[in-house]
Amino acid sequence: MLPEALPEIAEADLERFFQIMQAQFGYDFRGYAPASLKRRLGTVLKRYGLKDLHALNQRLLAQPDYGERFISEITVSTTELFRDPSAWVAFRLQALPLFAQAPHLRIWHVGASTGEEVLSMAILLKETGLYERAHLYATDIDTYSLAQAQRARYPLRLKNLYQQNFAAVLPGVPWQRYVKEEGNEMVFDPALLERVRFLKHNIVSEAPFASFEVVVCRNLLIYFTPALQDQVVTRLVDSLMPGGILMIGTKESLFWCAAAKRLVAVNETERIYRRRSL
């Protein structure tokens, strides 16, 4: 057997998997786009040496405490500091000035993963003098990623990439202002996280917990079917104050989302939108 070979996922087992995830752990994965979900399941099966999804289902039933760990394995945590630098530049130039006079700035990172995205935001707010007025919320369903996010330490092998992105967004700003090195880790200035709260929150099943001036939800919608994208985007737009900003991933689209009507593009290429006033 070649290393590429993944166990096959039978439809009946998949349906059972959905039922178990829902009943046992309260997660509804039915709206996740099937192609990548199946591949992901295949990868997890292989990692555990399980021969098919049926075996995983048995395990989920037998070991309920295994749920959190499993969520962490099945979700995709890929992220970067200032991922897609041009989007951050646009956000800085076209979105942040809208809040220059605002008494407070509540920002929600949905699907915050290991925290690089909210750190990027915190750095931008520091540089523009808005940090002290900000309240940042970083949420995810993966508690393992959230735990990592709170440490704000990342392997040194990522330094080149992160530093390049940083320089592209903040030319001339010294990297050392925010990052030092310890052993084989980059350590971000803990002051960046002073105004950040990390919470477990499932955007598929839970209502927003506040209203926000800015909602950032990038590279999460790609994992959903068009129908679920539509529901989730409605939820995101509902959570925005009139005039608030929504930022999604640069390859994501609002094509399937009725709530797009309630938004105007601030920068279509960079997927930055603003909620209409009425």
Binding site: E4, A33, A35, S36, V76, L221, I222, G249, E252, W256
Partner: protein, 190 residues
Amino acid sequence: MTERPFLWVVAGSAGSFTPARQFVQEMPYRPQVAIVLCLHRMRKPRVPMIEAFSRIPYWQVVEPQDKDPIESGKVYLAPADYHLLVEREGYFSLSVDEPVHFSRPSIDVLLESVVEARWPRAGAVLLSGANRDGAWGLYLFHRAGYFTAVQDPQEAEVPTMPRAALELFTPNRLCKAHELVQVCLEALSL
């Protein structure tokens, strides 16, 4: 939803760009066909690949966004740094799952998704490349009954990728770079 187009996948890595572009230049229009180019590319290209496809006579060249419906008459360029997958419902999905064979987009991921989606009609050709991404996917593709072609390793700029495929199975066609249009038309006529 309209009828699903015939999906023709052109895939490769190092040494595949020139033959792939030539193919798109020369491929005559055929109705009910969509072409997908899955070429490994730099993570952060200085010039986006799409700019190399500015004057294509018969096809509209686009980088698909997530959940774009798969439509006839288009050439889809897999975007840098995302996997491109085909969904049974007739649209693309993008993902940022880990690279496969150090590659994102990965050819294996794309081809497997077409098989998994049971796309009604499809074919694929695997070109020059320096790693073995695509070999396994093309084999699954072949096993599922789709038309497959592999660039002759003798002629490929970098033979690793076609060779890896040929070690697994015998494709319908072994072809040279200048035969890509002919091979695609052949697949369409089956």
